[in-house]
């Protein structure tokens, strides 16, 4: 039950070396799991750990004892294991019956090793979700099927997008309590896709599950014959994360200078992004000196090429002055400057004091910095910006920052490693804020215009939000162009695009139309009732776009 089953067990028994060899080649995937109170998040995580054999018998029996004691649910029945107890951590929290911080859990399958950041979903814990989300490839958001999309769901999706998580998985949980009603699931999935489009999250997947019973978590249940998508585990094992790595521009923040003797000077660090090869010309910042890489050293010996996120040591041709906090770069240069715009998640009970300076840690560089201007506080549920004098715990602010020494940065959207920073209160030494650089400030003309455009700005400009329409069946391409024409004539910016481009185009605020192997037509995955009349289907899609709130404030079409 709690250890590897079936084939895996047999392989471990017969050929452990073969098993080990296979497991050497696993990838690492980090996910953050969020939900509102009582959405069943702890149960889902406990279920994942249990069903992938990560719970040992002594832990299981301890949890069974605690389940019987009814630590969280009053009188628990002895037969029913309270899966949420597997992930319940500290004593203080156990006493309160809630989790109040970020905890990390681990499980592994034949294909990937997973690290779960388990974060609470209370409104006041934006801080914790941001922490868990900062390193995640995938955000798993739980939605109670009985409640549907609530304000918290929008908040969670926004934080996921703010922290740059490329993949969103919405688990519509407690489907057993709505009798596995397909229509309930379809409605929630449609709403979620709309939210993701609005917030610019490129990849969204919705799953109908029951964490308590296990349906569609690690194994497929028998209750949703209408659902033919993957289980949560199948999805997590296969979601492509290769493209999430930024290998386009070399950024090598120097961490440490290794100098065992006078003949050796190596610059140790972890590639934040990009690729470096021996012989490459690089630029050292802030000096701006150009030089070449003569060697890439590792404990095992020199290598020819290194890529993010490897930790290596570089040697350079010239004796130039490079120390911790400097950055070696190539390809498209980063922005160099002391002024930039950023999002801040405020994490301290002491509010932001615009009159003070803070320690700003960005890559391996720590500088003093001030918040020059607070453009406002973002409401994560409406995405509206409200004017503010300060930022308080769990506020998400849009600010302009000035640092006392220059930083070498990219927009967070293009490079998570060189777009992220933290603020430290130099009196208390507490970490008070997490920052995501939106783009360069208005000094030296270095403003990074591309990085500034947010989904809400696009929406304001275009008067519409992005959406993805899929068309299938005989003559699909022809009908796709017909739909494009009808939408275009109605003032909607739409384009027929290849299927793989649809999500990107929709995230950019356009209505993407693509041909897929389906019957009829869908809007963000939800089937649209069409008819044999192609033009009627096109008009039905237009009406559906309007109902879904994608077309903003404009004259009714009818």
């Amino acid at each position: 039950m709690s250890t590897p089953d079936g084939d895996e067990r047999t392989q471990i028994e017969r050929d452990v070396l073969g098993y080990l060899h296979a497991h050497e080649h696993k990838e690492l995937l980090r996910l953050v799991v969020v939900g509102s109170v009582d959405d069943g998040k702890s149960t889902l995580i406990g279920r994942l750990l249990h069903d992938t054999g990560r719970i040992y018998e002594d832990q299981l029996s301890a949890v069974k004892r605690a389940s019987a004691k009814g630590a969280t649910r009053g009188a628990g029945s002895e037969a029913e294991v309270d899966f949420s107890l597997f992930t319940d951590g500290l004593r203080a929290e156990r006493e309160q019956g809630i989790t109040i911080d970020v905890a990390y859990r681990y499980f592994t399958t034949a294909r990937r090793k997973f690290i779960i950041a388990d974060t609470p979903g209370h409104v006041q814990y934006t801080r914790n979700m941001a922490t868990g989300a900062s390193t995640a490839n995938v955000a798993v958001i739980l939605i109670d099927a009985r409640q549907g999309v609530v304000a918290q769901t929008r908040r969670h999706a926004y934080i996921a997008s703010l922290l740059g998580i490329p993949h969103l998985v919405a688990c519509v949980n407690k489907m057993d309590l709505v009798a596995w009603d397909e229509a309930v699931f379809a409605r929630i999935a449609g709403e979620l896709s709309a939210i993701a489009g609005e917030m610019g999250i490129p990849d969204v997947t919705c799953l109908p599950i029951s964490a308590l019973r296990g349906d569609q978590v690690a194994t497929r249940g028998a209750h949703a014959p209408w659902y033919d998508g993957p289980t949560l585990l199948e999805h997590l094992e296969t979601v492509p994360i290769d493209a999430d790595l930024n290998l386009t521009a070399l950024r090598f923040p120097v961490q440490y200078v290794i100098r065992p003797d006078l003949d050796y000077r190596g610059f140790a660090g972890q590639l934040a992004s990009g690729v470096v090869t021996v012989g490459d010309e690089i630029v050292a910042l802030p000096s701006g000196r150009r030089t070449k890489v003569t060697a890439i050293d590792t404990f095992e010996g020199p290598i020819a090429t290194a890529f993010a996120p490897m930790s290596v040591t570089l040697r350079l041709t010239d004796e130039i002055d490079v120390s911790r906090g400097d950055m070696l770069v190539a390809d498209v240069p980063p922005t160099i400057g002391t002024r930039f715009d950023a999002h801040l998640v405020w994490m301290s009970e002491r509010a932001l004091d615009p009159a003070r300076s803070y320690v700003l840690k960005h890559t391996t560089r720590s500088v003093r910095a001030e918040i020059e201007r607070i453009a406002g506080v973002v409401d994560p549920e409406t995405l509206r910006l409200a004017p503010a004098e300060t930022l308080s715990l769990n506020d998400i602010g849009q600010v302009a920052i000035r640092s006392h020494q220059p930083l070498f940065f990219d927009a967070y959207r293009t490079n998570r490693a060189t777009g992220a920073f933290i603020l430290i209160d130099s009196l208390t030494n507490d970490t008070v804020a997490a920052g995501m650089i939106r783009g360069g400030g208005d000094e030296g003309g270095a403003r990074d215009v591309k990085a500034q455009v947010s989904a809400s700005e696009r929406r304001a400009r275009l008067g519409q939000a992005g959406a993805a329409i899929a068309i299938g069946g005989p003559g699909a391409l022809e009908r796709a162009y017909l739909v494009e024409r009808v939408l275009f004539d109605a003032g909607v910016i739409a384009a027929v695009v290849p299927r793989e481009a649809a999500a990107v185009v929709a995230a950019a605020g356009l209505v993407a139309i693509s041909v897929e192997a389906i019957d009829g037509a869908t809007l963000d995955g939800v089937a649209i009732d069409g008819s044999d009349d192609d033009e009627a289907t096109a008009r039905a899609l237009l009406a559906a776009l309007d109902r879904a709130g994608r077309l903003g404030e404009r004259e009714p079409f009818d």
Binding site: K26, A92, E300, I303
Partner: protein
């Protein structure tokens, strides 16, 4: 071993990614603290941690010493392994013992595992950190070991009494660690936070790291006490009336003080066999550690007081 760059499609395997992240942590601490030290417990996790440190600072030596907090009750095999390992790798090792407690005759039999651990490990550790003025101490703890560890930060802040407050931990985002401390305060840094027991064994196998022979099964003299097999490692072991040591083929999943380490019956005599046994096991590794069971949430209590 597979060269780092030979991995196809420019994507690191999970072990190489964990390795790169741990090396980053080791270098950050070495760069940002004045006087770091690495806790060395002689076990498999310490072995991995030392190898990662060698990788982080090659071709230079480790820029910090190792510290072994010695209760004097470790297995004899552990002391022998430690001295050979340190000599072969040219490592600087500080051994610290709570001399007053030793003079007072503190031992695991009379004082109970709880009190004994507090005096011989926690107090001794805090004393060593203070005497040497260490402001950062690496530990090999992993978040998968125990429930209260799951929330532990990679940089775990400790006040001037070495204490940990789980309610006032600094948020930790990306790989941007906050290393700011005031005089007298310190951090514990855990480079293996995201490693699991399987990762540690698999890495030990990949890198062909040496391990204490006690991890492998061999005939050893044991007594069974409350369902736990305790090895009679030297003449200080106090036998209870009627207890007669018998030889059994056993090994240890975790190593500590011999009177407090439970052995498991096993025939695994090679590393792959250990891994095989672990994968098929039905009990977690800390079950063999007697100090965790004293009371529910006991690890958390110890950590608040300054235990690793």
């Amino acid at each position: 071993m597979e060269p780092l760059a030979a991995i196809d499609s420019r994507r690191l395997t999970h072990l190489r990614q964990l390795e790169a992240e741990s090396i980053h942590i080791l270098r950050e601490v070495a760069a940002e603290f004045e006087r770091p030290v690495m806790l060395y417990s002689i076990g498999k996790d310490s072995g991995v941690m030392v190898r990662l440190a060698q990788k982080a600072f090659a071709p230079g030596p480790l820029p910090f010493p190792l510290l072994h907090v010695d209760t004097t009750w470790k297995f004899r095999d552990m002391y022998a392994f430690r001295d050979r390992f340190v000599a072969e790798n040219r490592l600087e090792l500080i051994v610290h013992k709570n001399q007053r407690a030793i003079a007072d005759g503190v031992n695991p039999f009379d004082h109970g595992s709880n009190k004994y651990t507090q005096i011989m490990k926690t107090h001794a550790l805090l004393e060593a950190l203070r005497v040497h003025g260490f402001d950062a101490a690496f530990g090999g703890a992993r978040r998968d070991e125990e429930r209260s560890r799951a929330k532990e930060r990679i940089y775990s802040f400790r006040d001037r009494h070495g204490q940990w407050d789980p309610k006032h931990q600094r948020p930790e985002l990306w790989n941007l660690y906050n290393g700011k401390v005031k005089r007298g305060e310190s951090i514990r840094a855990f480079p293996l936070s995201n490693w699991t027991e399987l990762d540690v064994w698999q890495y030990t196998w990949l890198e062909q790291l040496p391990i204490v022979p006690l991890y492998l099964a061999a005939p050893r003299p044991v007594v069974e006490r409350d369902g736990t097999l305790i090895m009679v490692d030297d003449e200080r072991m106090r036998l209870q009336p009627g207890e007669v040591p018998r030889t059994e083929v056993v090994r240890f999943r975790t190593l500590g003080c011999y009177p407090l380490s439970g052995a498991v019956r096993s025939t695994a005599t090679t590393l792959p066999e250990i891994i095989q046994e672990m994968l098929l096991a039905r009990h977690s590794e800390r079950q063999g550690r007697l100090i965790d069971h004293d009371e529910e949430g006991s690890m958390e209590v110890k950590k608040r007081e300054g235990y690793f």
